[in-house]
């Protein structure tokens, strides 16, 4: 019963997203693209409501959390931005084999995760324990976060996944640990849907379906082998895939840039690394747009939701004296002392137990594809992020980061892997937008 209720609570999230989306200027999307977008908006707005209610001293109750979602619906009657009609695309042909393969991949990942073969120890050590305790406390329990052992669990860690699990626990009465593991296949499914929905706008449907199957297999394997079930990587990669799908295959309109910023806010609120990812995306896409068109609009649009989201969370942790990772150097001071072992250790973690097969796959896709239009920004983000990984491990002070790298580098490297995958699958010709209107391309 706990598991069923917990799952039900998770399935409510896109409904919350559709309520919050009433006031947002969303672009036209087909149903396959709409679901991941609504899940993203639902996760972010749920996080915002739960953080704000804690801040205002309102104890969480299911009704108390759901009520604020009525406001945008009611407000939508008074003022609603011009909504784009649903996108109608031609019926895709020849995609069945690739769709079956992608679905098979997701089922396989569901089995691997559900049978505890991909569990992250962090689910027990911090995501789950924080979520259960928050649900019982009916708010973000600041005293619990200040408990000395909690230092290992980073008291100021971004709240989205914790609060998603806490929401499930609040509805179900307890945390359903087994269902928490299934967030891996669920977010993988959403990532696949987001990729397919945007890719088919820009490349032939058959090609888009094949690339979706590769993405599902690539993320399914790497997430499983680096034991990410129950950890922050599945939602983080979902948000990253959503961001790149919008920016790589979208029409570059303001509405899509705004949507990309919403997805960036999701990345920022899931994991600390999400902030670095968001920074590189804003700089790469915004910077290139400035160089090409002397326009600051993409930069401003991409920062519009993501930067205030991060700012609000940092303000919350500062005001509650919870600073840890956002407070500078949690492990130690910056040093070049271990640079050699860092540069040797990271590639060792990158092999994913399969002689670097995931990287070889991405490299092959880069080599055999046609000329690509927008390959450069995701590649720049990937290179920047690799530098960020090295930079992080240089913050160990006198502590040799070898164990730290073994523990985390394979998970950190998933983001550049996704970046290079998008560089490899970027469309090869200018967009023939199938949209209802000809958007002004900002990016």
């Amino acid at each position: 019963m706990t598991g069923t209720l917990f799952l039900f609570a998770l399935l409510v999230v896109p409904v919350l997203g559709s309520a919050a989306a009433y006031l947002l200027p969303l672009p036209g999307l087909d149903p396959m693209g709409r679901i991941p977008v609504l899940v993203a908006i639902g996760c972010i707005s749920l996080t915002a409501v739960m953080v704000l209610e804690t801040w205002m001293g309102i104890p969480w109750t299911p009704l108390g959390i759901l009520l604020p979602f009525l406001l945008p619906v009611v407000g939508g009657f008074a003022w609603q931005p011009r909504q784009s009609p649903a996108l109608r695309l031609a019926r895709p042909r020849g995609i069945l084999p690739a769709a079956v393969l992608a679905l098979l991949g997701i089922l396989l990942v569901a089995y691997v995760a559900g049978s505890a073969r991909a569990t992250s120890a962090d689910l027990i050590l911090f995501w789950g324990s924080k979520a259960e305790n928050f649900a019982l406390y009916a708010g973000i329990d600041v005293t619990f976060l200040r408990f000395p052992s909690m230092h290992l669990a980073h008291p100021d860690y971004p709240p989205l996944l914790t609060l998603l699990l806490a929401w499930g626990s609040l509805i179900a009465g307890r945390l359903a640990w087994g269902v928490a593991l299934l967030l891996l296949p669920l977010f993988l499914l959403l990532a696949g849907m987001a990729f397919w929905a945007f890719a088919r706008r820009a490349v032939p449907a058959k090609r888009a379906a094949e690339s979706t199957a590769v993405l599902v297999a690539l993320l399914g394997y790497t997430l499983s082998v680096s034991l990410c079930a129950g950890n922050g990587e599945p939602p983080l990669l979902f948000f990253e895939v959503l961001v790149f799908s919008i920016l790589t295959f979208g029409d570059g309109s303001r509405r899509l840039l705004f949507l990309a910023s919403v997805a960036l806010a999701g990345a920022v609120l899931v994991k600390v690394e999400g902030a670095a990812f968001a920074g590189f995306v804003i700089l790469a896409y915004g910077g290139l747009a400035f160089l090409r068109r002397r326009s600051l609009t993409p930069l401003a649009m991409l920062a519009s939701v993501s930067v205030p989201s991060l700012g609000l969370w940092i303000l919350f942790v500062r005001l509650h004296d919870l600073q840890d990772v956002y407070g500078a150097h949690p492990m130690g001071s910056f040093t070049f002392k271990f640079l050699r072992s860092i540069l040797a250790g990271i590639p060792k973690s990158a092999d994913y137990g399969a002689a670097y097969a995931p990287w070889i796959v991405v490299a092959l896709l880069l080599l055999v594809g046609a000329r690509r239009r927008d390959w450069m920004p995701p590649a720049l983000v990937g290179v920047g992020y690799l530098g960020f990984i090295v930079f992080c491990y240089m913050h160990g002070g006198d502590y040799d980061p070898t164990t730290w790298i073994k523990w985390s580098a394979d998970r950190l490297l998933l983001t550049p892997l996704v970046c290079f995958f998008f560089a490899a699958t970027a469309p090869s010709r200018p967009l023939q937008t199938p949209s209802f209107e000809t958007p002004r391309r900002e990016w």
Partner: protein
């Protein structure tokens, strides 16, 4: 013309073959990973960490012990997690975090066995000792398993 043909060959022949080969190879690796994690069965694992990977294996025994303790201690009671003085500080912190995840309805108090002081502990407290036995006259043994022991403060 030749370059156009090459590009078309790459786009229409090589790219789909690469995509299919890549997806199939990665899924085969995923199956291999699943087999490595233990026999393929359709039953629920005893804990979310029950598999054959060394990183988690160590925690499973502790988690099962905590689950057994949780069934025996009434909701709201304080549970003292007893540690031997030889426990490394990092292991202690990890064990406490694992206990916090399993005892959300209880107060969790970590303590070294030599330093157990019932006067500072809440009335009716329980003491759970993973992999050890407590020799404190103020506590009575109420349950024992191969993994550890559980005590209740004498009234």
């Amino acid at each position: 013309m030749r370059s156009l043909l090459m590009r078309r060959f790459s786009h229409e022949v090589l790219a789909p073959i690469t995509s299919w080969g890549a997806a199939l190879a990665l899924l085969a690796l995923l199956v291999f990973h699943a087999i490595q994690g233990g026999a393929l069965k359709l039953e629920r694992p005893s804990t979310v960490l029950t598999n054959k990977y060394w990183v988690q294996r160590g925690a499973v025994r502790h988690l099962l012990f905590l689950q057994d303790v949780e069934e025996r201690v009434p909701r709201g009671a304080a549970i003292i997690l007893v540690f031997s003085p030889a426990t490394k500080p990092m292991d202690l912190k990890i064990n406490v975090l694992q206990a916090l995840s399993q005892f959300p309805d209880h107060s969790v108090i970590p303590a070294y066995d030599r330093l157990i002081n019932p006067r500072t502990h809440p009335a009716g407290a329980y003491a759970a000792y993973f992999g050890g036995e407590l020799h404190a006259p103020t506590y009575e043994l109420i349950w024992r398993s191969g993994a550890g022991t559980l005590y209740r403060a004498k009234r």
